[in-house]
Amino acid sequence: MSMIQVGHLKSTLPLALAVLVGAAVSAWAASSEADFKAAYAAAEAANTEAGILRNQWTVTATALAEARKAAEKGDFDQAVTSSKEAEALAKASIFQAIQEKEAWKALEIR
């Protein structure tokens, strides 16, 4: 092994280790309980708003239940994914309710 190669190894080793450690930490802490709580709170807030508009969707409730179930098992990756899905569904139901305040007239028999 030449001096240049040894030098190169010395300089890249810490970087490689840092990447490996970083990846490991990242994989280990992909989603924390705090992440789940934040995502779930956002989903719940959106669903509450849909409820005020009298337009909640059953699938939102299902996604929220799935999020809780995953969190209980400690699977925070899945819990966050389900929470985000619930939030997207709740936001779609809010959009629908707002859109329909006027759009319903297009279906009216006249």
Binding site: G51, R54, N55, Q56, W57, T58, V59, A61, A63, E85, A88, L89, A92, S93, F95, Q96, A97, Q99, E100, E102, A103, W104, K105, A106, L107, E108, I109, R110
Partner: protein, 282 residues
Amino acid sequence: MARFFHTVLALTALTFAVAPPAVAETSDPVADATAFRKYFTEKFPQVKLEDFVNGAYAIDEAMRRQWQAIEQFPPYEFSLETGKEMFAQPFRNGKHYADCFPNGGVGIRQDFPYFDAKEGKVVTLELALNKCREANGEPPLAYDKEEMAALTAYMAFTSRGKPFDIKIPDDPRAREAYENGKRYFYTRRGQLNFSCASCHVQTPGERLRAEVLAPALGILNAMPIYRSEWGGMGTVSRRFITCNSQVRGVPLEPQAEEYRDLEYFLSYVSNGLPISGPGARP
């Protein structure tokens, strides 16, 4: 994944929805009812007007033959008998349901729902029955369960053949209730982005999975109904709740203001068509 797919579909449909034409701020219920009747009689010219109260059976000939056979031994018969007994049974204070209604509660189904000026709200038959019970010290019945269905089945039976006679008094609150019901009927909801009208105006006579969709005209005249799908009787409340669930919308509470107003609207636009309840449906 499927949920996201449906959401994307729904949102796409919303995004590309045609802008609604301008409409008068105050609608005319008489004109609405005329237009409603014209729409369905033109869509189904082979169906006699009074036959619209028979739902999909009025449209689909094969189903009609099956229904006529079923009517020889109607599945709602047991419920009807139960309702008759319940109606005659005195409350603990010795009074009866008959004491709460005009004409002893016989032959009055066609007058419900009505707008109660004192309460400022629409009163359905189901609501009136529970008000009667509570006024006599009895606990209310569940709106979506068999006992309420049995009672309304009996009361509907005593009104068979009598035309719906729903009135909208000259009261802005009554007009608002009617408008609210109309708006609910045409408003899309649930993940599937369906309104009541999507099935019962746009596609009656078509199949939704195994079900043939009924036209909205006369759709409440046969209530309450025995549904094979339910394996039992169902009230108007149960029907509305089920419809909401089927489009993946969270149902409102039974006898919510929106549901009562919806019943007011749907009954009004079917004025003149005979009561045919209790009914039987697939």
